[in-house]
Subunit: 347 residues, 2 copies
Amino acid sequence: MDTHVVIMAGGIGSRLWPVSTPSVPKQFIDILGVGRTLLQMTVERFIPVCKMENFWVVTSEKYVDMVHDQLPDIPEEHILAEPEARNTAPCIAYACWKISSVNPESNIVVTPADALVLNTSKFTEVMKRALSYTESHDSIVTVGIVPSRPETGYGYICASEISEENIVKVSSFKEKPDLPTAKYYIGEGCYFWNAGIFVWNACTISSQFRRFAPQIASVMDEMSVYFGTETEQEAVRKLFPSCEKISIDYAIMEKSDDIYVISADLGWSDLGSWGSVGSYMHKDSEGNAIVGRDVRMFGSKNCIVHDDSDEMVVIDGLDGYIVAHKGNRLLICRISEEQKIKDYSAK
Amino acid sequence: MDTHVVIMAGGIGSRLWPVSTPSVPKQFIDILGVGRTLLQMTVERFIPVCKMENFWVVTSEKYVDMVHDQLPDIPEEHILAEPEARNTAPCIAYACWKISSVNPESNIVVTPADALVLNTSKFTEVMKRALSYTESHDSIVTVGIVPSRPETGYGYICASEISEENIVKVSSFKEKPDLPTAKYYIGEGCYFWNAGIFVWNACTISSQFRRFAPQIASVMDEMSVYFGTETEQEAVRKLFPSCEKISIDYAIMEKSDDIYVISADLGWSDLGSWGSVGSYMHKDSEGNAIVGRDVRMFGSKNCIVHDDSDEMVVIDGLDGYIVAHKGNRLLICRISEEQKIKDYSAK
């Protein structure tokens, strides 16, 4: 089977405000200061398992040009524009129906655009095994990350047995837990962070949608009549917004009982907050993580500084703060208070 | 006698970096957020004692347009451009020679452009009395501010007797003292802050320069031949830089023994640091002094925020900090560490 990778790149990343904003969300930013955006790093991570012409990106209409600029090697017609955000289920269905229309015998990975994977060689191995499994099974394979801490910010996958790096059946998906529950999960050993990466073949996807999300499947069937025609985008604009607004987790994962998980310690993070971004950045001797053209720290430690404004920034006497600056937005906030940032960005 | 006011507006204001910079120093800024720049406030303060056509501003060539924009009612030819900064003695001599060339029977006040006076009605009264004195005496009258604290950042004037709001002889000028000395000054009662404001008639100035700074007087005599001619600016460019680089205090005040002081409690400040600027700004209920279009404070107190960049600024959890932002420069620094700012600006 031909492998295709679908990258979901329509998110907003409001917790990394003001560097990540609705006009340029975090997947399009070099948030770690490594010279590549998270979207570009996501593509690189899949190159060992997927030909460049088989990458697909689903994103908002307004980000299409940005995707094309950042990924010039991906076929332009593989950048799919959602006329409006309807959560992950319609997004995934759209890409998978497109791929089926090209080749119904495809093997497909769906991945977020904005996560980090440090252990890329193990990631390749895991992907290869998952893809090999879905080539011969009509099942969904999810990726479970071996948890390193009782994180309350992630959903969890409960596996039916403890068997690291083997593909085992999923017992259930768990929403973001409270701390005692997260600690219990860690103790059990069969709970993994849900990385939001799904592997399945085109036939499985289609049948799962038809069974558990028939409204979306029916919209896709209607849309697919126009695929490859001059009126495709017009049809998508008209039909896509009629899809039920629902996540893939609610629409399919929590309903289907034919889901498997392959678990591994991948050095994975969703980079969902400044604290998690900071923990993966290079630190100076005082523990400051700095991205910026000309940032000068004096008597400061354990800070995360991201200046995307090409400025001279002088910081004296801060301990444990985020200083984030981009465009005409400046944030100064304790890292320990970062859960408030989402609210600031909404104001 | 005709009263003229000379405003010295050539300073750099490096301690209010980065809002005050060499390209737009503090006298040209609405540093207090009151809708007028310090230069404009200085002119307003003298309007009760001086006709608009008798104001003069001495500044650097590069600030001439800025002065004209901020003070459109001052005759353009009264904005005198120093081709290079030679400290205050040549600056004052230049203006006073110009005024003498217009009317040798003039009475003159020289003032910095960047100080604050809260008690403006008493200031008017003090100026009127000083000018009335110099109309009939060939003496220099300085303004002494009744000190409210043992400030080590100002020079002091020691009066020969304690007689507030009367004009009394100056015993000596004192440089910025250390704290024990400043405390001693406060206890004595005859020591006043030197506001850098001098009142004298054109004849006195000229004779004092001829006696104590003959090199500068001789350059001015040479320059004055060209005053009012087409080649004036050319001559100034050529001759002015040959003046000795010296302050009026060293050149004349500390040498002359015919100097008087009129002391008063004027609510005066040189606004020489963020701390002093903050102390004169409006505070919110948490003690934050804020200038900016859209500054949002959360859990923060006793901060001075000056955003001149038309940005949205969110600050959470700062106590006692300066956040100053302008152009492509951002400073975050404890108010207690503000003495370091001068160094940052130099880097």
